[in-house]
């Protein structure tokens, strides 16, 4: 489901009428199989570099919103051996998700940095945006230099405060992750405060950018992998599921809770913070009847004080149309005790074992189509199909019985061989179809309609190196 339903009902009816006269899109695909495949593969990515327990990862993305509001980012910490994988799902535009994907991993890097490194940042020897984190894979980097300067300054401030107050002690990864998330959200919220404009620290266009970021929102999930330690920090309804191979069976182990109204403890958490407001806050299973996730970056409409919001409305420099997307309801109805929303992540810690074969992180667009169990089965099947080598040759001296046993197993695996070699693409195709007619119909839905059928989908699958984990495991237990 999209976060906000802006398309009018009339549009939908018009579309349905028109649609009723044209051939069924599933029965009469409008795309050729080749076209479907090239669309599905457009954003696919596979990185086969082994790094610690991570053997490789693949990712893919399919847009529903235009432009797409999902983002993803990956990187290694330069100091240390940890890898980071993040999937972010924006709403109300892509600005916030873009900012979070640009900045969050660096914030984590700063939060993880030890004293010496923070000191080096403070005296200018290290650039916190470039020298702490090595990005891997394709990343959409922000090009607006003014904005980058603002962001960099915020990060530097974070580094300075971290050094002064509570730098990383090498132990509490969880705390570091929480502080990075919270700090980034705080920075997003404060950078857009009207006072910044009046203080003259930003020019107009740059300020508008920060506003766009702050008024849109994003949820996200970041995996922190170091040795056999796997931490998952999650905000909102992006999910991470671990594929565990146990006694020849595949098991889906969720490593995140979704923060939405389906989660009773989340609802309880919010109502506890805002006693007596319960009926006003959660309406139609949404925050103020508007927002699906109950934790998010940005979305200052639920974070700023009423005064700040009103102030913004009355600021003359801000053209009316910027705020007009919210209509007359910039301030939610019965907005009494903000903030109602924050970006504190729920962090789960999992010790990797050789049975843990892969981790799937994906935006809710995927989980709306496929259950975690189904996703794990699909990846496992795909893995199996992928692992069979094309040309089997029996070993010298093997008996026919042995050969036949190997071949029987291969037979099952060969059945799993999929059209797409990229696991994320395979999931994407399975989520939409998998039959050609269905995929074609999904991919040809017109723009105002497509959001009613599916959300943006972003999938990252991280494959673990069981040998590495086994090795670490033994050392660990010793």
């Amino acid at each position: 489901m999209p976060k906000r339903n802006k398309a009018s009902g009339a549009n939908l009816i018009r579309f349905k009428l028109r649609n009723a006269r044209i051939p069924d899109a599933v029965q009469s695909p409008r795309l050729t199989p080749q076209m479907v495949t090239s669309i599905l593969r457009m954003n696919e990515e596979a990185v086969e570099e082994s790094y610690g327990p991570v053997r490789s990862y693949v990712k893919n993305q399919l847009q529903s919103n235009k432009p797409i509001e999902d983002r993803s980012a990956q990187g290694h910490l330069v100091h240390g051996s940890a890898s980071l994988f993040g999937v972010f799902d924006g709403h109300g535009g892509c600005a916030c998700a873009q900012a979070v994907s640009d900045r969050l991993l660096s914030y984590i890097a700063v939060a993880m940095a030890e004293h010496d490194i923070l000191a080096a940042i403070n005296n200018g020897k290290l650039d916190p945006t470039t020298d702490l984190l090595q990005h891997i894979g394709d990343t959409n980097r922000l090009v607006n230099t003014d904005l980058a300067t603002v962001h960099k300054q915020s990060l530097a401030n974070f580094a300075a405060e971290a050094m002064a107050i509570a730098h990383f002690d090498g132990e509490s990864v969880k705390d570091a992750l929480v502080s990075a998330f919270l700090r980034l959200d705080r920075d997003i919220v404060t950078e857009a405060l009207p006072s910044n404009l009046q203080g003259g620290s930003m020019d107009m266009s740059c300020y508008f950018d920060t506003l766009a970021i702050a008024f849109s929102g994003a949820v996200g999930c970041v995996a922190y992998i170091d040795g056999t330690d796997l931490f998952l920090a999650n905000v909102g309804d992006t999910q991470a599921v671990l594929g565990v191979h146990n006694d020849n069976r595949w098991e889906a182990v969720p490593l995140s809770d979704t923060h939405n109204a389906d989660n009773p403890s989340e609802v309880e958490r919010i109502t506890r913070c805002h006693p007596n407001e319960a009926p006003n806050i959660i309406k139609n299973r949404r925050l103020f009847g508007e927002l699906v996730p109950l934790r998010a970056f940005g979305d200052v409409r639920y974070k700023w004080t009423k005064t700040d919001l009103k102030h913004l409305l009355n600021t003359k420099q801000i053209p009316k149309h910027v705020m007009s997307v919210f209509g007359d309801n910039l301030i939610p109805h019965k907005y009494r005790t903000p903030p109602y929303l924050d970006a504190e992540p729920e962090v789960m810690h999992h010790i990797l074992t050789p049975k843990d074969k892969f981790l799937v992180i994906a935006s809710d667009g995927l989980w709306e189509c496929l259950s975690p169990d189904k996703v794990i089965q699909l990846v496992a099947g795909h893995l199996d199909g992928q692992q069979v080598l094309v040309n089997y040759k029996p070993n010298e001296g093997a008996t026919l019985k042995e050969v036949n046993e190997v071949l029987s197993n291969r037979r099952v695996s060969l059945k799993n061989r999929a059209l797409d070699s990229n696991t994320a693409t395979h999931l994407l195709r399975s989520a939409l179809g998998p039959d050609h007619g269905q995929v074609s119909a999904q991919l040809t839905l017109p723009q105002p309609i497509v959001r009613f059928y599916r959300d943006d989908i972003t999938i990252t699958v991280i494959f673990f190196d069981s040998e590495y984990i086994k090795d670490k495991d033994i050392k660990h237990t010793r």
């Binding site: 040759k393 029996p394 026919l400 036949n404 029987s408 291969r410």
Partner: protein, 901 residues
């Protein structure tokens, strides 16, 4: 040529092949090789480099030769050998690589005589006898008479084996039906607990295939045949539709005859015929077998095992075992044509593909589980659309012969095939009825590459998979459909295919899909599920009126400016076709031996304009026969109008009234005589040729309608016929009608070795009309007696619901002595008995046909008949005329019309 994508493996030694094609002289010079070990190449053997060839060193190509054979495989060499044996020694064999380098060299070398039909058996037995004789003469073909054991997992397979056994018995081929316990005794390594039984053929054996080719080559060369290697045929040039010249990589050879024995390359070679290409419909397919390292305790004389319910076969191989098979879902290869250079090469082996066979192999011979692999062999072989060999003269070019498409039984077939093709070239016809292998059984569409590739899914496994009588193919269907096809489909038609033409076999009854009919089978040895439907249609033809789609029949028009066409047809036909305009004549077209080249119905439309209808299977063959005999001056025009006209047969007692209702003409017998034709209007359609005849003996009309009007005519007849109880009928009804009525059909009962005198059609031969082809032979038979006589049998003590059915090919016993085989069989609903048609012969003790001076007496006097169905002999009542049927025709007015829906 798309050779880039083809993965080929050059054999590297040591392999099982490296020594298989050494010349015997080389063997003598290499002491230490025991003959049976010769092909073993145990690990310690010195690797042999390139195979050494037997052929003569390069010498200049002859300028001309009587026969040029393209292909130095076992088949091409056998043809050359047999030509030389009969004194035709001016023969050149051209091989693009080295002798045997295509597929012969990787042949497993099984020689089985137990085949589907008597002709198959006759040919393979000839091969086996020849190879055995050579081995006895010291020619060294590695012959090992180990016998073969065909085992059955299912009862149906057992019936199949028993049917083969019954036929083998009539030919003196020794075989024995054995129980699982006996199988265990004969071959202790087999698992037998899941077997129903088997057939033991002690005279079968295995040999070394390339050696056979070498002996053919050596013996042919000794008689003067030239075998030239490293010369490829680039083009075959024809003049006036005959072979004139072969263009090779080393120069041109003028020749009279050309034989395409190019195996995998045959189809491509056929295309390189100038100016008109020759269709050689075959496709390559991967064929796998596995050879193990020696297994202790393996009996060197272990029989060849065929466990075809598991798709696999076995033979002993140098102390180890060889197991291969014909799996379903095979892998066709060389779709773009084989590479030019593919000598002593195999394809990349696909173990995963082989797994299905490996499981079956290990299942049947558990002892192989601990064996180690010597090699998995993936050798391409060529297969034809119906899994039968491609032999004989092509329809496109005179004197262009083919002997190819061996469907993985090249060694077993080579001897017999070589002999038949050599006879065919020299005598103008083979010594056996070769119609089943005759390349003219195909039409152009069969050469379609995609069709061929699709059909591989059925024709490759056909060697192993049990094919029931009349079972239809499922691939390559719906190619040629009549305009009535969709109407029939809606009416519940179940289609069969002849020459790719879809024909309704029967129309489903309402309760055909009901649960109590669930167990009944379309393809079976017993009463099939279409029986009741065919019965209904049969009675509708007998008592009411039916419409049958006859569009698949081959149709020709012949015309000339003046009398030429009459003279031409008079020469070809044994009946007198110089009849009144509007008259129809049934006539045979005889060859010089009096046999039926064609059996046709000819209507004289005008003085010099004839319309000719032939069986669908004759489309290529009839054309060829007509075209080859046409006056050279081009005065006679021949047109194939098969696709132009659709045929609807209105059959049954109400046909006369029904046609009158829709055509505004009088159809009374006096106004529209039987065996006459008129051009009439039907409904609003014009230009319909109506002929008062049926092919079953009932009254009725066949309408030949310009195809675009066919649907209109059909709809008009259907609606007008409502009150007459009109319905659709299919070919099963037709077949039952005509078998009961003792109507012989060409291709099923009649062939080019059957004369009109032998099938009771002497009355259609007009000796006094002047000369015609075959006249002398028929006069000879008229005056001195015939070789065989066509007889109508009714089985007695036979239960159509319970007993196994006869399907054609069952042995006929006269006073306990074999007298031939049945041709076609079907239930006679009016006679209420199973009817078998077949030819009765008088064989002497050596199995040679005796002349029947008085065939009527021989058949009918002092003769008790039995027909052997899978080992059970049923008494049979003979008749040489159509027996009287106990059918009373009710006055049409009293037959209730079917209820309205």
């Amino acid at each position: 040529m798309g050779t880039a994508g083809v993965k080929c493996l050059k054999i590297t030694s040591p392999s099982i092949f490296s020594r298989r094609i050494l010349p015997s002289t080389f063997r003598a010079a290499a002491p230490g090789y025991v003959k049976t070990r010769l092909f073993s190449t145990a690990e310690g053997d010195s690797p042999s480099p390139e195979p050494v060839s037997l052929a003569t060193p390069p010498k200049p190509l002859p300028q001309q030769a009587r026969v040029v054979v393209c292909g130095g495989g076992v088949v091409g060499l056998s043809v050359a050998y047999h030509l030389a044996e009969r004194g035709w020694t001016d023969v050149v064999v051209l091989e693009q690589g080295k002798v045997t380098c295509g597929t012969t060299w990787h042949s497993v070398g099984l020689v089985s005589t137990m085949k589907a039909t008597r002709t198959d058996m006759a040919m393979t037995r000839y091969s086996a006898d020849l190879y055995k004789q050579w081995e006895a003469e010291g020619e060294g073909v590695g012959w090992k008479q180990c016998g073969s054991l065909n085992v059955a997992r299912t009862l149906d397979r057992m019936i199949h084996l028993k049917r083969q056994h019954a036929v083998a018995k009539t030919m003196g081929v020794e075989s024995q039906v054995v129980t699982p316990a006996e199988i265990q005794d004969i071959c202790p390594v087999l698992r037998v607990d899941d077997l129903q039984g088997g057939l033991w053929i002690p005279g079968d054996g295995a040999l070394t295939a390339p050696d056979v080719a070498m002996v053919f080559s050596r013996k042919a060369k000794a008689k003067g045949v030239q075998v030239i290697e490293d010369v490829g045929v680039e083009k075959v040039i024809t003049e006036n539709g005959r072979v004139s010249k072969v263009v090779t990589s080393a120069g041109n050879i003028k020749c009279e005859y050309f034989v395409n024995s190019a195996g995998l390359w045959s189809r491509e070679l056929g295309k390189r015929t100038d100016p008109r290409r020759v269709n050689v419909p075959l496709h390559a397919c991967e064929h796998y077998y596995l050879v193990t390292k020696p297994i202790t305790g393996t009996n060197p004389l272990m029989p060849v095992i065929r466990d075809y319910d598991g798709y696999v076969y076995f033979r002993e191989w140098n102390g180890g075992l060889l197991g291969g098979g014909f799996e379903p879902s095979p892998k066709p290869c060389f779709h773009q044509g084989p590479p030019d250079k593919f000598e002593f090469q195999l394809l990349q082996e696909d173990w995963d593909h082989f797994q299905v066979l490996l499981t079956e192999i290990l299942h049947r011979v558990p002892a192989m589980e601990t064996a180690e692999i010597r090699q998995l062999v993936n050798g391409p072989e060529s297969f034809t659309p119906d899994s039968r060999w491609l032999l004989g003269e092509t329809a496109e070019v005179a004197n262009y012969f083919v002997a190819t498409g061996m469907n993985s039984s090249g060694i077993a077939g080579a001897g017999g095939v070589g002999k038949q093709v050599a006879d065919w070239i020299i005598d103008g016809r083979p010594s056996l009825n070769m119609w089943a292998y005759d390349i003219r059984r195909f039409i152009g569409h069969h050469n379609n590459k995609r069709f061929l590739r699709d059909r591989m899914q059925e024709s490759f496994p056909a060697t192993a998979v049990l094919k029931y009588p009349r079972e239809e193919y499922t691939t390559g269907r719906k190619l040629r459909c009549s305009p009535l096809h969709t109407r029939q489909e809606v009416a519940g038609a179940v289609f069969g295919e002849t020459m790719a033409y879809e024909r309704a076999m029967y129309f489903k009854l309402d309760d055909d899909d009901s649960p109590e009919n669930e167990d009944r089978r379309m393809w079976t040895y017993t009463k099939p599920m279409w029986f009741e439907a065919a019965q209904e249609e049969y009675w509708a033809c007998k008592e009411r009126v039916c419409l049958m789609d006859m569009s698949s029949f081959a149709k020709f028009e012949l015309e000339s400016a003046s009398e030429e066409v009459v003279d031409f047809l008079q020469k070809l036909c044994s009946n007198d076709i110089d009849v009144d305009i509007g008259t129809i004549v049934h006539t045979g077209m005889q060859n010089k031996y009096g046999g039926f080249e064609n059996d046709t119905t000819i209507a004289r439309l005008d003085h010099n304009h004839f319309y000719m209808i032939c069986p669908a299977t004759q489309q290529s063959r009839a054309w060829t026969w007509l075209a080859r005999h046409m006056p050279q001056d081009g005065s006679v025009h021949l047109r194939d109008v098969t696709s132009m006209f659709s045929g609807i047969n209105i059959i049954g007692p109400h046909a006369q009234q029904l046609l009158a209702d829709v055509s505004d003409i009088s159809t009374s017998r006096s106004d529209f005589r039987p065996m006459s034709c008129k051009k009439i209007d039907v409904g609003s359609a014009s230009g319909v040729w109506a002929m008062r005849l049926t092919h079953t003996g009932e009254d009725g009309f066949i309408l030949y309608i310009p195809s675009e009007y066919a649907l209109h005519v059909y709809d008009i007849l259907m609606s007008a016929g409502k009150d007459y109880g009109v319905r659709n009928a299919g070919y099963y009804a037709l077949r039952h009608l005509r078998i009961e009525n003792f109507f012989a059909y060409w291709g099923l009962d009649l062939d080019d070795r059957t004369t009109p005198m032998e099938c009771g059609r002497g009355y259609r031969v007009k000796f006094d009309k002047g000369d015609f082809i075959g006249k002398a032979a028929l006069e000879q038979q008229r005056d001195h007696g015939v070789n065989k006589r066509f007889v109508h049998f009714q089985l007695e003590d036979y239960d159509v619901n319970l007993d196994l059915w006869p399907w054609g090919g069952e042995p006929i016993y006269r006073n306990g002595r074999n007298a031939g085989l049945t041709t076609t069989c079907g239930f006679g609903f009016a006679l209420d008995s199973m009817v078998c048609l077949g030819f009765v012969r008088d064989f002497d003790d050596k199995g040679v046909e005796q002349i029947l001076k008085n065939s009527n007496d021989f058949v009918m006097k002092d003769a008790k008949y039995e027909i052997d169905i899978a080992g059970t002999r049923f008494p049979a009542k003979p008749s040489i005329y159509t027996p009287k049927q106990n059918v009373t025709y009710v006055d049409p007015s009293f037959i209730p019309a079917p209820q309205k829906v």
